[in-house]
Symmetry: C2
Subunit: 272 residues, 2 copies
């Protein structure tokens, strides 16, 4: 039996990454495709009585649209179960009285409808995909370089993700680009920031040692969760690459074929 | 008298950065505009008998077109006096039997006409400006991530440069983006690489202590030259910003209003 599973008996809450664990994004209609066994795995988690949150860095759609898409793919998920960076960023902007220049996906923009964007004094970067043109990145740069203290928020810091037709550059790459251009450090909202994981735990009323994160990103999912004292499994789906199992800094508590296998092993332990 | 000028009497060769020292790029016709006094300053250097090379990281045009543009602006400059990254990169590719995927400006591409670009096993990044689309950067990323040992050449590593309508992101920003995406380090061809400065000195048959670099980039011009034992002045034109005079790591040997002032002071010293 996998050694990580031994500790599973004290488990009360699960955190699941979404893209690469539940489904692969992309495809002609933008719907993506569910990963084999994941729809049923989510259902089994819910039936088990474990608490569950979907902890995503997805910023190509509002949370409402994102949930709609997952439901279309067959997943039992509701909006209040999804912890996502954009709503967290909106709270931070309002708390600190900041007015963003947005470089985000068109489909995410409505999430910021209630935020004052006039005369911007910071930049918010999401996974903007084709909106990452030279012109748009240059506009974001010009806002930052014109500020006495440039403030850059990045909704996640992923390197790349997997779509049905291959690996695609993620927001972290453009965060690094602007950090270098302006000689600054971005504030990351989303995984792997501690605040993000802790807000998901608080929402479930679960302690770190009672929770387990399952993701396909060795640094942002696994490393991020472990920094909060949360155990973490790496799935071999999504953007997983074999070299992730030899990552120089992060070792997962366990490696599983996919979400379905993780849930099989977990539920077997819990039912003993 | 400026203290840096005291050493000028042993001077035999000058290295001049071009964009931001001779002219500001951009504008409606893409010709840019000469910086006041620079055309005459170049002429006076040549009349003085000092050796001279133009040491540029410009990669938005072939060397031939670049020289043509400078001549149109009134500068006395010939192709053999210009040290530029693209010809240096072509030599390296041929020596090492590498076949590049090019992410460069359309106008630079002819410089690589003689290079085999089939089935690429490396990426060459130039200042591609509007060619830095999400799609193109993603293609470069997919080439790199598919290689067992990804090799990325960057033609310079500048953060930004000044065009007539404002600051623009330079190639270094996209180099950092791909470095982060693939967890690699790029090989820089051009300033501030030592090999680049030393090839310019060899071309003039001048020793480092007999040479002086004049540029508007505190890190790539001034820092790069100093690492080779070449003295270096920072001009307060081009992309110069007042905070450059308080750079935490690099101190120029002198700071001057513009090229014209530097040449005034230098020639006065040489004629004593």
């Amino acid at each position: 039996m996998a050694t990580w599973a031994v500790g599973a008996r004290g488990l009360r809450g699960l955190l699941l990454d979404v893209s690469g664990v539940l489904y692969d994004s992309g495809g002609e209609e933008g719907l993506g495709s569910a990963i084999a066994g994941s729809v049923q795995a989510v259902r089994r988690i819910k039936q088990s009585g474990l608490k569950l949150r979907f902890c995503t860095n997805e910023t190509q759609a509002t949370r409402a649209k994102f949930v709609q898409k997952l439901q279309q793919l067959g997943f039992d998920v509701s909006e209040k179960e999804v912890i996502a960076p954009a709503p967290a960023a909106c709270r931070i902007l309002q708390e600190r009285g900041l007015r963003p220049y947005l470089l985000v996906h068109d489909a995410l923009a409505p999430e910021f409808d209630s935020v004052d964007k006039s005369n911007p004094n910071c930049v918010v970067l999401g996974d903007a995909a084709n909106n990452f043109s030279y012109e748009n990145l240059n506009k974001a740069f010009q806002v930052l370089i014109g500020l006495e203290t440039p403030i850059l928020f990045s909704l996640g810091k992923g390197r790349y993700y997997k779509e049905t037709d291959g690996l695609k550059l993620d927001v972290g790459v453009y965060m690094k680009a602007l950090e270098y251009a302006c000689d600054i450090e971005a504030e990351v909202v989303g995984k792997p920031s501690k605040a993000f994981f802790l807000s998901a735990l608080a929402d479930m009323d679960v302690e770190p040692h009672e929770a387990l994160m399952i993701g396909d990103d060795i640094v942002n999912d696994v490393g991020g969760a472990q920094q909060c004292g949360i155990g973490a499994l790496l799935v071999r789906t999504g953007k997983f690459r074999p070299c992730d199992e030899q990552h120089p800094e992060v070792k997962a508590d366990g490696y599983v074929t996919n979400l379905a296998e993780a849930v099989d092993i977990l539920l077997e332990q819990l039912q003993r």
